[in-house]
Amino acid sequence: MAGSPLETTSSKGKLLAFFAQVPLLGWLFGALTAVLAEQFLGSQLVDLLGLPKIPVLFGCMIVLKKPLLVPGTLAYVLCIYLLPLAIVARMAAPWWNKIAGYLYRLSPSVAVIVHLVLMYAILHIWSGISAYRLLTVKLTMIAVMVTLSLNVINGYMGEFSCSHPGFLALGAYTASVFTLLFFANDKIFGTALLPASLGPFLFPLALILGGLVAALGALAIAVPSFRTRGDYLAIISLAFMFIVKSMIENLEIVGGPRGLSSQPNYVNLPTVFIWTVLCVWIINNFVRSTVGKALNAVRDDEMAADAMTVNTRRTKVVAFLFAAFWAGIAGGLFAHVLRYVNPSTFGIQKLAEVLAMVYFGGLNSVYGSVVGAVSLSMLSEALRPLELFKWIIIPLLLILVMIFRPTGLIAFTEFDVKGLIRPKGKE
């Protein structure tokens, strides 16, 4: 979100210092005003500026396709997004700080809920404008979950795991089979076993089941690979990914290479939002718990950790299964957003994508994963008109980030919820 804590003291410029006093609450209200403005004034403004439609992703696509519309698009983005954001957030900053302070003193958890509700409202209105935005938002949130769960292994634990596409596949297929078997009339599994009206209520069960199966798969990797330290997890996990893909291709019962289609349409925006928030919250708590700290100790020096009575092997296995569980849930959501899965989706291409998001965002950081997943998925949508050259620009960007910030954009940062919602500036 737009409210990352900025250093006011450094020479980052007056402008940053100027905005640094705005609390997250202020930014959220600013964004809310912006999306409301778009909702009610967007189409009139578009007509006025001569744009074809409301620019979906801040006008990137229009800018790249029709250079003559650049001024109009810029003006639109300025009027709809930047001005309300600047005015509402900055001008009213003292009030926001007061409200934020009041909420915070009342109870931090109430404050968190207020922030989340606002966030959801913004997403809801923003994605309500177009189905394409909605789809992008859903897939982006799923990418956040996947990235975050891989960060637990690659960042917090410091191993190099390549098996995430495999976990995604396990989760996706398990959840799909569950919903297709019980709630959908389908040519592979026949008629629904349970009334379809029960479906949305039992859907979380399908997801959790998917997560559990993924965790079970993770156990198959964890047992051989955590006996010693080294790079062997990298190939064991890679072999696992090949095995899962090959297994699904051979299972005629789940459609083989043809894949499974027509999963029921359960995953709407609130569902994805709730699961994503849950995932961020639980993983954040996990990495800040004693297990998480033990994990960091294992990464930095396994022998020292062992000497400090950390049961290193158990810690690693627990973290690995935990990460796989969330990847499985993300896989289940993914399958129900696309309403189609096939084994070739979960191959090396997916692996490269997820790894890029983790390392781009930053290791050992919940912030980083959110930033990495959101920025890369948005970027790859926004650069769509460039076709081939998109796949030169994105890798180049990643290489540059790696060279100048080898651990990623926002690495080794604690995700401090209380610090985030606290009022800013001097009270």
Partner: protein, 307 residues
């Protein structure tokens, strides 16, 4: 028996590609402790460079500019492409790996991955979407030895790859540079302090690995004459498996593991229903690693790893 022998010969050819590519992986991994995920795509680039040189030489011959027998063209193609591709490797090292030498190892792996994507897309942008046919440099002759079919190409490929592996082995064992590499592999921190030029060694490692990948690419073109920009991906990842399976920095290990991977893939398809090939082949590898977690020739190392 004939059936078995036939598959043995097929597996030897298939394994030699894995082995040649795995060697490049293994050298970078052994000396610098880095994964070079761009290696599969360097193999692709090598094959395309070979394609360009072979076509150029053939065109020259056809125009009557020079008179060269086709075997000489093949030899020249291999030598020139190995030379040129080694520069590609050095550029990859300079751009993607040197700035990251002190960074977490995985970050360098990501730059490698991204350089690979750039190489693939760059190829697609430069040459268009068509696949190209590698020119026929040797007329294939099939010998029927008691029901076992062997082609002259297969013999050539296996002989050339083994010769290259042997040459590499000698280089690393006997030469001054080879010794420096082994020293670096032994201790990454202290050896540069003793005056071994780390940048030169790193460049050399990448250059040799890439040259071998180029040789593999051309031999691949001779055996399977269809090249496409994405041909290196699967090869790269599987050779990565072979390199680590062989043990850290072990040339013999990478060679053996490469051949073993080839054998497993071919023989699993021979014995079991071929649909289950990947499933069984990689389960076997998982099993091997369970019992030999450090690969064939790797030693357990207690040195603290960077991330």
């Amino acid at each position: 028996m004939g059936f078995f022998l036939q598959n043995l010969i097929n597996a030897l050819q298939w394994g030699s590609f894995y082995a040649l590519i795995a060697l490049g992986y293994s050298m970078v991994y052994g000396v610098l402790m880095l994964f070079n995920f761009a290696h599969g795509d360097i193999f692709m680039v090598g094959a395309y460079i070979g394609f360009g040189i072979a076509s150029g030489l053939l065109a020259l011959t056809a125009l009557g500019g020079i008179v060269l027998p086709s075997w000489l063209i093949l030899v020249l193609t291999i030598i020139i492409s190995m030379f040129l591709t080694s520069f590609v490797g050095m550029i990859v090292e300079r751009v993607g790996y040197r700035p990251l030498r002190d960074a977490p190892r995985a970050s360098a792996a990501i730059t490698g991955l991204m350089i690979g994507i750039i190489l693939e897309t760059g190829n697609l942008a430069l040459l268009g979407a068509r696949r190209v046919r590698f020119p026929t440099l040797i007329q294939s002759t099939t010998y029927d030895i008691g029901g076992v079919f062997v082609t002259n190409k297969k013999i050539m490929i296996v002989v050339v790859s083994i010769a290259l592996m042997f040459a590499l082995h000698q280089f690393v064992r006997k030469s001054k540079w080879g010794m420096a590499m082994r020293a670096m592999a032994f201790d990454y921190v202290v050896v540069p302090l003793l005056g071994v030029p780390i940048n030169t060694i790193a460049r050399l490692t990448f250059a040799i690995g890439s040259a071998l990948a180029a040789a593999a690419g051309i031999l691949f073109g001779v055996a399977y004459p269809v090249l496409d920009p994405y041909m290196g991906i699967v090869f790269g990842w599987k050779a990565f498996v072979a390199a680590i399976l062989g043990g850290r920095g072990s040339i013999l290990g990478a060679t053996l593991a490469g051949f073993l991977l080839g054998f497993i893939e071919i023989f699993v398809a021979m014995i079991f229903p071929s649909t289950l090939r990947d499933f069984i082949a990689y389960s076997i590898i998982l099993l091997i690693l369970t019992f030999r977690p450090h690969g064939f020739f790797g030693e357990p190392y207690s040195a603290r790893l960077r991330l």
